[in-house]
Each structure stands twice: as C-alpha cells, then as structure tokens.
C-alpha cells in the first residue's frame, strides 16, 4: 500500500477527532532514558573491528595551491598508516538539500582552514600528532578575505512592491539606520563525526547528519558511485542547528580512506576543525529604512543587506526574509549583495535570515515608534497587512495580533515606564518586545508504518537531532491507530528506510509527521474494512476498534503484520496561501551602568505555530531558540584574522554561546491554539526556528529602553555598551 499525496487543498482535522488523547501531550521522549544513560549510539560511539583513526589536516593559507607535503617525516611516527589526499575530498560541507557533491578542489586551497588531507593512524593520538607535524608546501596567491574590501561582489535585483522611492521621500517620519552582525557558528554540542566501512563496492557511513536522503546522494556523487551502493546511518545526532544539513569533509575523507585502506576509518572533528570548516553564518551589514505618516502608518519599508560567501556556494543568508511579510507599506524594497571572499564558507545556521535580519529590522521598528512617540506594540498592531505585501497571497493562519496582545498582557507591558528612568543600584532596567515570524514549509517526505496486533513500528530516514522526532512520530502513530505511545517503536536515521525531508528549516515535523500520518491513515482504512465500517466512522482507542456498532481488538483484527507507506509533497496550497509561524517576544534587561554588563532578567515568547504535537519538546525548542536570541544580542561573535581569514574564536571558550548563567530563570513560552489547514494534513507549522526569530531584537529593544541609547552593532558586548553609555 503506497500512498502519494500532494497538498492541494485544506485537509480535515482528523487529529482533533481521534480518541487516544496522546497527540499534543507533553510526553517524555521515548529515547530520553538512553540519552541520559549514555546508551544512545551517536556516531563516534561506534568502533568497528579493525577501525583506524583519521584526523583532518587544515590549510594554513587563504588561497593557492599545494605544491607538496613532507609525508615521510610523519609516516615514521609510530602507528601512522597513511597521509591521504584525493581529488574526491570536499572543500566544505554540502549546503542543505544539495543532493550533490560540494566543491572538490584537488590541490587547490580556497580558504584558511580547508581540509586538505587526512592522516590515518592506529590511534587518534598518533593521527593528531602527525596531522599537526605535517609540513605542507604551498604556492600562495593573494586573496580577499574581508567582505568590506573584496572587489568581487554580486548584487541581486531588488525585491519590490509599490514604489519605495516615492513612498520614502514622501514619508513624514523617516528612520534610516545601518547595522552589523558578526559571523556566527551553529555550535552543536556533538562535533562532526563519521565512520566509513566498505563491504565490496558498498559503503556504509555512520555520520552526524540531519538530512539522510540528501546526504546519501551527496556521498554517492562525491565518490562517483551509484546511490544504491551507499547506506547512511544517523540514528542519534547531538544537535545540528544547520551545521549537519549536508555531507561534510570528515565523511568524504572517512569513506575515501576506508576504501583505500580496506578497513573502517573513523574521523571525528576537533572543536577547532568544526569552527574552521563547517559552514558559518555570514556576517551581515544591513540598512533599514522605514517611512511613516505622523499617525503611525508605515508607508515605506526597505531592508538592504550585504552578506558573504566563498566562490561556488549558492547560499546567501536571507537577511530580509521576514521583513518582506511582517508589515505592510505602500512601497517596499529589498536588495541583497553577496561579497565573495576566501574564507570559511557560509551556510544555514539556526533560522537563516530571521536570526540576524530581525535583530536589525525589529530594532528599527522600535526606533520608528520612538520617533513617532508611539508605543512600539501599538505601532506593530497598527501595521499588520491584510495579505503578503509582496505577492498578495493570503496568510494561511496568522495570530500575530493575538500573540502581541496576549504577550503584552502576560508580561505587564501596560506598566512600561519612560525610557531611561528606572534604576536598581548600579543597574538600569528596561523592557522590550519584538514580533516573531518564520516562514513555514512542506518538503517531500515518505514514511512506512507497520502494525501487528496492537504494536506499531514507524520507519523513515528522518533524523532526531535532539528535537524530539522519536517522540512526535510515536505520538502521531499512537493517536491515529489508537494505541498507547509505548506500543509504537520509531526507527529513524537509516537511508534504507523511506526517505524523509530530514531535519532542517523547521520543516521536519510537518513533513515527516505528515507522511507518518498518511501511512497510518491508510492503516485505519484497512482496519475499518476488516471491522466492516466506514473509515470516517472508525474509532481506535487503547487497542480497540469500534464503528458501526461493531467492536474488536486490534490483536484480533490484525493478527499478521499490515503495513502502509505514504509520501507527501507540497502542492497548490503552497502557491495559494502564505504559511508562517508568528509570535511575540518580550524581554526585561538590566544594564550595569559602570561595567556595561547586560543581564536578561526575564523573557516571554507567545507563539502561534499551528498544532503542537508535543507540548514539552515544542517548549524546549522554543526556549532554545530564545536562548540563541540572547546569544545573537549579547554574546556570540566569530572573529577572524583580517590578513588571512583564519578563524580565531575556534572553541566554546572564545565563541560564547549563552550558558545557564547568561539565561534568566524566568523564561516562559505560551502557545496559542492554532490549526494551519493550508500547511499540511496535521495542521502544524515549523517550531524550531520561530523561537529565535525576533527574540534577540526584544533584548536589544529592552537595552534601548533601559539606557535611552541605541546599539547598531551586535552583539552588544560590555565594551560596546560602556562606549554607548559614555558617548
């Protein structure tokens, strides 16, 4: 039974009719005990018999050609097996959903830190020692490493609606500001890792990856073999945040080395290598122009940006993504410039676009409110557009106004005081808010559900990167088949299973969840037929099937396994309606007037993100996103050597991800009840990235409220804050 479904029209809300009552509940993760007891098998936990250890060697020039390596000096080190170079090795990880090999450079170096060889040894220690001792000879070439000064830039045609120029020049009140944000790292806890093992001409790769279906194609293309000869396993992934979307250099190198040596090879990146070679988020330079009438109607919106990437990468941080649909105006214009530099390539990192674009845009909205003498909440509420301002599509489900007003009521926004007037000792106190938005997607996804009696098995190559996929797929299946969730086994992260969307762009739960839903729906139809009732009249609960005055246990109806497989893909609703998660963030900060330290004292996020599948894992994701918002506003900044692009913040001591001490105890998340009928048959929206979108801006706006000073360069580090306070 294979079902192929295209999302062409709104679907009935079946999950509101089913009776098991497990969907949406804050169920514990079924994989939780394995994780806390250390028995969940992450990639590097495996050590197959005969395994050798590989350590990547990095280039130490920005651009040029490798003219030689002093292999002999390190081949003499005890335990060192080989120094492997190969034209199939890849320059950097594949971009998300690429499905083909990343750039393969042979003996060319394109950036400082590029993996150029793999040292393989009997022990990790010997491999690392040899990798560090290996002398590499280069023919270096001049290269631009700074986006400010590179002569090589590309500017797209602007995205526009109406006539921005005339709306701008006619505006009674104008805000025109420039902002900067630095490069950021995904900083997943688990460093990137791979183990490759060949059986004849078939390769099995264990690797920390987010998108197994695409990664399989990427590895096959990298190696020049047929995808049928590739199997990828990623049952547990220790965080991704975009950094594991695409096949990485460690995986390509492990596969090549294992093939050459005829034994399994494991390559685990050190934290420093992760920073060197895993795709970073581009730094941005942004200009936001807002025009409005004196009574607070926004008439002109422009958000231009400059980002960077290396040659050969199509990805450009979509900085103004949310700015294009949050508020309406008579004229809108968005222009992007990409600066080409010889530096660690850029890619998707935690809410690409919104995470840094909304910092600037929502700060500018706040500044406009100040200039108008309006409450920033009121300004936002007054300017919510009827339809998508650029393409005129209706919104599928949008409770942004409710998020803003509900959040304001819960946070105590009405008690907001005049900026710069509240102090507690040396600390200046302020509150701020921002809208949240993150567009929602559906990506082709397949899943299989097997049912024997009252026991079900879900199979898909979907991944769980710490997000809760094991939990929500069990809940969807249990709800649809009327089983306790404990009766559902979920198998993930194996490319031999039906191909899913993978985890990325917050579309995993929608896409893989819908495929599981559709497969389970097929099984419901089969059960109804066996019971002798209409599928619409079937009730499944606690292993009992009822309908049309008949009742039977699943153990009787399904004595031998039945299975169904389903595939979902986007259809007409993606064109007819615009789907996005929306929300509102509120933050209270304290700014030390003498040291410039900034403490976030409380945060509230109110979000409408469609049906919530698991209240606990959804909350965890939203909280995590809000914490990344604190990082973007206050702590996270990747820095590189201006001479050669060498990243110097290569560990978690120098790249400051917010830790517990940076995060307030009072962090609240509220989900508004919502169903997005146009999004998918389970009426969900993406969750993972909405939490970050706008969260940092609420912190930034609270700083302005506390101090009456506006920062334009983020993060607002203590030295920048003191300079502002003294300025």
């Amino acid at each position: 039974m294979k079902d192929h479904f295209t999302m062409d029209s709104p679907q009935p809300r079946l999950l509101d009719e089913t009776k098991q009552g497990v969907i949406g509940t804050p169920m514990d993760r079924p994989d939780g005990p394995r994780k806390v007891s250390g028995t969940a098998d992450y990639t590097a936990d495996h050590a197959p018999d005969g395994m050798a250890h590989g350590v990547l060697v990095r280039a130490t020039i920005a651009r040029g050609r490798i003219t030689g390596m002093d292999r002999d000096t390190v081949l003499g080190i005890d335990g060192v097996i080989d120094v492997i170079t190969d034209p199939r090795m890849i320059r950097n990880p594949a971009q998300g959903m690429a499905g083909s090999a990343p750039v393969q450079t042979g003996d060319e170096v394109h950036y400082h830190g590029q993996p150029i060889a793999l040292v393989v040894a009997e022990t990790f220690e010997a491999a690392r020692d040899a990798a560090q001792r290996l002398t590499v000879h280069y023919h270096a070439e001049a290269a631009a490493v700074s986006p400010e000064t590179t002569p090589d830039t590309e500017t797209d045609d602007p995205v526009t609606a109406g006539d921005f120029d005339s709306s701008w020049s006619a505006a009674e009140v104008q805000i025109d500001r420039a902002y900067t944000t630095p490069s950021q790292a995904a900083a997943a806890m688990e460093p990137h890792a791979a183990i490759a093992d060949w059986q004849g001409d078939h390769v099995t790769l264990r690797s920390a990856l987010q998108m197994v279906r695409f990664n399989k194609a990427e590895l096959a293309d990298t190696l020049g073999i047929d995808p049928s000869k590739v199997r990828i396993l990623a049952p547990f992934v220790g965080g991704g945040f975009g950094s594991k979307l695409g096949l990485g250099p460690e995986a390509a190198a492990a596969a090549i080395a294992a093939q050459k040596l005829g034994r399994p090879v494991r390559v685990v990146m050190t934290r420093q290598t992760v920073f060197d070679t895993v795709l970073r988020r581009s730094e941005t330079a942004q200009r936001v122009r807002l025009g409005a009438t004196k009574d607070g109607r926004i008439t002109a919106i422009s958000h231009d940006d400059r980002v960077s990437n290396i040659d050969g990468e199509g990805f450009a941080e979509p900085v103004s993504q949310a700015s294009q649909f949050l508020y309406g105006a008579d004229g809108l214009s968005f222009t992007q410039t990409v600066a080409r530099i010889a530096a660690t390539p850029a890619g998707s990192v935690r809410a690409p676009g919104e995470a840094v674009g909304m910092l600037a845009f929502e700060a500018a909205i706040d500044e406009l409110a100040d200039a108008l003498g309006m409450d920033p909440l009121e300004l936002r509420l007054k300017n919510l557009p009827e339809k998508h301002p650029i393409d005129g599509r209706p919104y599928s489900a949008r409770r942004l106004a409710d998020c803003l007003t509900e959040g304001a009521a819960r946070f105590g926004w009405a008690d907001r005081w005049q900026a710069g007037t509240r102090r507690e000792g040396d600390w200046l106190i302020g509150i701020g808010m921002a809208s949240a938005a993150r567009s929602n997607m559906l990506v082709k996804s397949s899943a299989r559900v097997r049912l024997t009696g009252d026991q079900a098995i879900v199979e898909t190559d979907m991944t769980d990167i710490g997000t809760g996929t094991y939990a929500i797929l069990a809940q969807i299946t249990a709800e649809m088949l009327g089983l306790p969730a404990a009766n559902v086994t979920v198998r993930l992260g194996d490319s031999d299973l039906p191909g899913a969307s993978g985890s990325g762009g917050s579309f995993g739960a929608n896409s893989a969840g819908s495929a599981v839903f559709l497969a389970a729906r097929k099984l419901r139809a089969e059960i109804a037929e066996r019971l002798g009732c209409d599928a619409e009249g079937l009730t499944l609960q606690n292993g009992q099937a009822r309908g049309d005055n008949r009742e039977a246990a699943l153990t009787e109806l399904v004595s031998e396994e039945i299975l169904a497989e389903a595939t979902i893909q986007k259809g007409k609703t993606a064109k007819s309606h615009f789907s996005s998660g929306f929300g509102a963030h509120f933050a209270e900060v304290a700014v030390n007037e003498w040291t410039g330290e900034i403490r976030v004292r409380r945060m509230l996020g109110v979000m409408s993100m469609g049906r919530i599948l698991n209240e606990k894992t959804a909350r965890s994701q939203a909280l995590g996103g809000m914490i990344w918002g604190i990082g973007a506003a206050l702590t996270e900044e990747m820095q590189s050597d201006p001479r050669d692009g060498h990243i110097v913040t290569r560990d978690l001591a120098n790249y400051h991800v917010p830790a517990h001490a940076d995060v307030p105890g009072d962090m609240q998340v509220v989900f508004l009840e919502e169903r997005d009928d146009w999004a998918n048959p389970i009426q969900t929206k993406g969750i993972g990235e909405l939490g970050i979108s706008g969260a940092g801006a609420a912190v930034i706006n609270a700083i302005s409220h506390a101090t009456s000073k506006r920062a334009y360069d983020y993060p607002v580090l203590p030295d920048r804050m003191v300079a502002l306070l003294e300025g």
Binding site: D78, E125, D129, Q132, R133, W594, T595, G596, T635, E637, Q639, V648, T649, L652, A653, N654, H656, A659, A661, D662, L717, P718, D719, V722, A723, E726
Partner: protein, 263 residues
C-alpha cells in the same frame, strides 16, 4: 599528545638536577603547559613534575607573621587554608578558573608563567610578597618583568611565596565569562605604611601597580578618594573580549569596588 620523558622528583634538589637538561621543562599543575603542549606551541622532550615535592606543598605562617605558601600548592588548598589568615587571598584563589583548575593549578605555576590575565600576580604584587626560589628571594616589585616574563632564570624553581598580611585587602575580578580569566582584576592591600594597588588582565606589560590610586588611597582609604582618577588606555590590551578603553575604564570601576569591599 606526542611522546615525551617524564620525571617526578621528590626533593627540590632532584628537580633542579633534572631541569639541568636543556630540553627539560618544569611541570606544576599543568593548567597552562598541558594545553600548550596539545597545541604544539611548546614541545619539550622532557617534563619534570614539581607536584611530588613535599617541601613545596602547603600553607603556614612564619615568625614574621607572613603567610608562606609552597610553590606547588594548588589553588583549592590556598583557598581553604588561607581563609582565616588572609581572606582576600583565599577569595582570589577560590575564584580562579573552575574546580578542576583549582585542584590542579598551583601558585608557583601561575606566578612563574605570569600570564597577563592571571589572578595571582596581582596579589603577589599588591601584597609586596617575596618570591622564594631554589637559590634566592626576589621581591615582587623586581619579579614581574612584563608579559609572560619574570626574573626567573632557566631551571629556577619557585619553592615558596611569602605574603605579608595586610590590615585590609580585597580582590575584584571582572571575569571573562567563558575562560574565567580576569578581563581586569584589581587587588587592593592596605598596610600600616600605605596602600598598594595591583592590576592584572589589563596591560600589554602584564601586572602593574596603579601608583596614582595608591597615593590617593594611602591618604584616604575610601572609594571617594578615587573620584576623578582614571587610567590611560595607552598600552592596555585590546582583544576579542574588550577594547583598551574598556579595560582602562574597568580598572577604576574595579578599584573602587575593591576599596569599598575592603573598608
């Protein structure tokens, strides 16, 4: 890690003999040296551990009332044993790095390394302590000679640091939150004959005395005595964690806090 020879002598004399070898380097708690080796920024072929030498361990008080701390005494031991005798020094020791650093890292190692962001050098300098080595005694004012540079000769070992105990003292550290090193740390010590103020973390030349503040505080030991005083940003460290201007600004802030806490 690469392969190297390792010796663990039990007396200072044996350690000095072992260090006569050109390639040898002393290893105390290893909180700086081991990461340095891992990064191959140094590759000595022999390490001589100083942590097995009983005479370099522990905290005691001598006849002159000075607090004498063995060179190989870990920070955690200083934090515990100096608590009643010299609370400001104990507090400094208890706030270095994290528990692992405090249980391994030693006062002698810290003072010998003279990292510009380390805490101990400020206490040694502000207290007017004496650095005792295997063959001499060095006054703090002569000991610190700039970034990672000291009066120690090759192969010379810090066996003890002797601290005069001030009437009042306090250490204020503005912590670089990830590394827990001092972005700026100020140690203020008030003695019968005057006040000493030592600053760590801030200067390109390492720990230094802020003599202008010492003069003001010797006349009037109160935060208000520092009003109007400031440190020039010239020569201050500018790095990922803060500008020179910010560090200069923090020196005044931290000094005031230290005086307020000490008085």
């Amino acid at each position: 890690m690469y392969a190297f020879d390792f010796e663990k002598p039990t007396t200072v004399a044996e350690a000095v003999a072992a260090l006569a070898d050109d390639e040898a380097q002393p290893l105390s708690g290893g909180q700086t040296l081991i990461p340095t080796l891992k990064q191959r920024l140094a590759m000595p072929s022999k390490l001589v551990s100083l942590t097995g030498i009983a005479e370099m361990q522990g905290v005691c008080t001598n006849d002159a009332g000075q607090l004498c701390i063995g060179g190989a005494t870990p920070h955690a031991v200083v934090a515990a044993e100096a608590a009643s005798k010299y609370p400001a020094l104990s507090a400094l020791a208890s706030n270095i790095g994290d528990p692992a650093v405090r249980n391994r890292g030693t006062i002698g190692g810290s003072v010998a390394n003279n990292d510009p962001a380390a805490c101990y050098p400020s206490a040694v300098l502000a207290s007017g302590a004496t650095v005792v080595t295997n063959n001499r005694e060095i006054a703090a004012d002569d000991y610190f000679q700039g970034l990672f540079s000291t009066a120690l000769e090759e192969g010379e070992i810090i066996t003890e640091v002797r601290f005069p105990v001030p009437q009042a003292a306090n250490y204020q550290k503005f912590v670089q939150p990830a590394s827990r090193f001092a972005l700026v740390g100020v140690f203020v010590a008030k003695f019968a004959d005057g006040v000493r103020v030592a600053v760590t973390g801030a200067s390109n030349d390492g720990v230094f005395r802020w003599t202008e503040a010492e003069k003001a505080l010797s006349a009037n030991f109160s935060p208000d005595a520092l009003n109007g005083l400031s440190v020039s940003a010239d020569g201050m460290i500018g790095d990922l964690h803060g500008t020179p201007e910010y560090r200069a600004h923090l020196i005044a802030v931290m000094t005031k806090r230290a005086v307020a806490a000490a008085s």
